[in-house]
């Protein structure tokens, strides 16, 4: 069975700096693949390349059998590849349900045949925000803003969801519910997920396979348990000493 997402030889340079170097891996349908790497490793750049926000200097991205070359971010989303941002960006001055409705008006969202407002409310219900539908989006707690981001992404009926550090900035009490939500979305909808995250404990609970990145290059790929013990990965994060990653 062909992979849902096939990244081939992806490279991006910014002036003298090579942010992503010859990146290549696949995401299978229905799997949760994690991306691990220290700050500055090129993870968000990779997401921006995959979602059409920046153009690669070399390589290609094949999603669901389609080459994504030259597509705008909106076009990529309408192919079924949705993302959330590291910094939550709700639409200010609009309510929570209005925020979700925006995504329901995308061509792909409309293609589901559901009335936008109904679909928006259903997405909010899925992420547990239905009771806050009329709240101004900027008044939400950070954890709720994260959920809203996910609801917006879900409204576009994605096949693959890219989550960029979904647990960043969340308090201890907000992390577990969000993790449970992600697991539930994966189980109930068969949603494929590609996730960048630093919080190793939550990361390990969610992902099946892991891609480890450092300095824009793929340094290891494999099952989660194997990767965290991989010497190159340990070295990238902590230096040449053994670490307690194995106990995560």
């Amino acid at each position: 069975m062909t992979a849902l997402l096939d990244i081939q030889g992806l490279t991006k340079r910014f002036g003298g700096l090579t942010a992503v170097q010859d990146m290549a891996f696949c995401v299978a349908r229905g799997e949760i693949l994690g991306i691990l790497g220290p700050n500055g490793a090129g993870k968000t750049t990779l997401f921006n390349l995959l979602t059409g926000f920046i153009r690669p200097d070399a390589g290609r991205v094949v999603f669901n059998g389609q080459d994504l070359a030259g597509r705008t971010p909106a076009q990529v989303v309408n192919q079924g590849l949705a993302r959330t941002f590291q910094l939550c960006r709700p639409f200010v001055g609009m309510s929570v349900v209005e925020n979700a409705m925006v995504a329901c008006y995308s061509p792909r969202g409309r293609a589901t045949g559901e009335a936008p407002r109904e679909r928006a409310l259903r997405m909010l219900d899925d992420v547990g925000l239905a009771h806050k539908a009329e709240t101004p989006a900027e008044l939400l707690s950070y954890g709720d803003q994260r959920r809203l981001e996910i609801a917006r992404a879900l409204a576009t009926d994605p096949l693959l969801l890219l989550l960029d550090e979904p647990f960043a900035g969340l308090g201890a009490s907000e992390i577990e519910p969000l993790s449970a939500l992600i697991r539930r979305l994966h189980a109930e909808r068969g949603l494929s997920i590609l996730i960048i995250e630093h919080k190793l404990r939550e990361f390990m609970q969610l992902v099946q396979r892991v891609v480890a990145i450092d300095f824009g290059e793929l340094i290891a790929i494999g099952d989660a348990q194997d990767i965290v013990r991989h010497p190159k990965v340990v070295e990238a994060y902590i230096g040449k000493t053994e670490a307690d990653l194995a106990t995560a």
Partner: protein
């Protein structure tokens, strides 16, 4: 659209008064209100794009002008009926909207405002340079009015204004309004939500332009002439002041602002040469003290309370 009893009454009263203008006032006042309603169309058109997206279209008079000049030129030089001219005007301003929208809407923030302002200022100069087509300083004279009777002209414009208001306010409350406000909020997030931002921006600008051109054609035919003044900064300031007074972003408020300021303008008629000075000072006052406008907050105040 939910509307309260008080709002319905207020709206009905306003419509009744507008319908009764020719009976309540002199022929002169009917004329004043005719122009006022054309300004209402212009103001709503501007608010639909700039008020919702937050991108200041300072070249708006260009769209007004092309509508006016298109119908004027065809009427004076080719005897084309001003009724047909209305549609030509709308078509021309739509095309101009596309032509200007494509290169400028990619630009961020102040660049768009600057570019559109420059375009309008330069276009006004071009009107003078191309005097053999446009009539230069004097413009084009002796145009045919759409209807000969002042009262009938008023009702014609009232009808067009109401229809325009219905369309523009309706759009602003539909997905158009939602998406345009989202685009104002965060374009990247809109793209991440699968929305073709460029399409909506350009389409909204074209819609705004069409109504500007329509108003321009109505105005030219009413005044039976068209002059470069219609593409001036003063026109822009007048329209924007009306929108501010009405409540920027509400679209319906713009119409109310047009009425308020037209009445004010009439009261200031005695100020003679000081009129424009007062307008400019008024704009400063409005920006400082009435940022949310007068009409929209009033309407919302009427909206509080039981629905029927």
């Amino acid at each position: 659209m939910k509307i309260t009893l008080r709002q319905s009454l207020a709206l009905a009263a306003a419509l009744a008064l507008l319908a009764a203008v020719p009976w309540l006032g002199s022929a002169y006042m009917t004329g004043v209100f005719t122009v006022c309603l054309i300004y209402a169309i212009w103001a709503m058109g501007w608010d639909f794009f700039s008020g919702l997206t937050g991108r200041e279209n300072f070249g708006y008079p260009l769209f007004i002008g092309i509508g006016a000049y298109a119908t004027g030129y065809l009427d004076a030089n080719h005897g084309i009926s001003p009724w047909l001219g209305l549609f030509v005007a709308m078509g021309m301003s739509a095309l101009l909207g596309l032509a200007i929208g494509f290169p400028t809407l990619r630009l961020k923030g102040p660049y768009f405002a600057l570019a559109t302002l420059a375009a309008a200022a330069i276009a006004q100069r071009m009107l003078l340079i191309l005097w053999d087509i446009t009539g230069g300083e004097e413009g084009i004279q002796g145009l045919t009015p759409l209807v000969l009777d002042t009262v009938r002209y008023y009702y014609l414009v009232l009808g067009v204004a109401l229809a325009s208001g219905a369309v523009l306010v309706g759009l602003s409350r539909s997905r158009w309004g939602l998406l345009l406000r989202a685009i104002r909020g965060d374009e990247a997030s809109c793209q991440a939500a699968g929305i073709n931002v460029t399409f909506y921006k350009i389409a909204a600008l074209v819609i705004s332009a069409v109504f500007a051109g329509l108003g321009g054609a109505l105005y030219a035919s009413y005044q039976m002439q068209v002059s470069p003044q219609i593409v001036s900064v003063l026109m822009l300031v007048a329209v924007v002041t009306m929108v501010y007074v009405g409540g920027i972003g509400s679209v319906y408020g713009a119409a109310g602002g047009a009425i308020v300021l037209s009445l004010l303008g009439e009261m200031l008629r005695s100020a003679g040469e000081y009129r424009l000075l007062v307008y400019a000072l008024l704009l400063i006052v409005v920006i400082f003290f009435l940022r949310g406008g007068l009409v929209a907050p009033l309407w919302r105040r009427l909206g509080k309370g039981a629905t029927p």
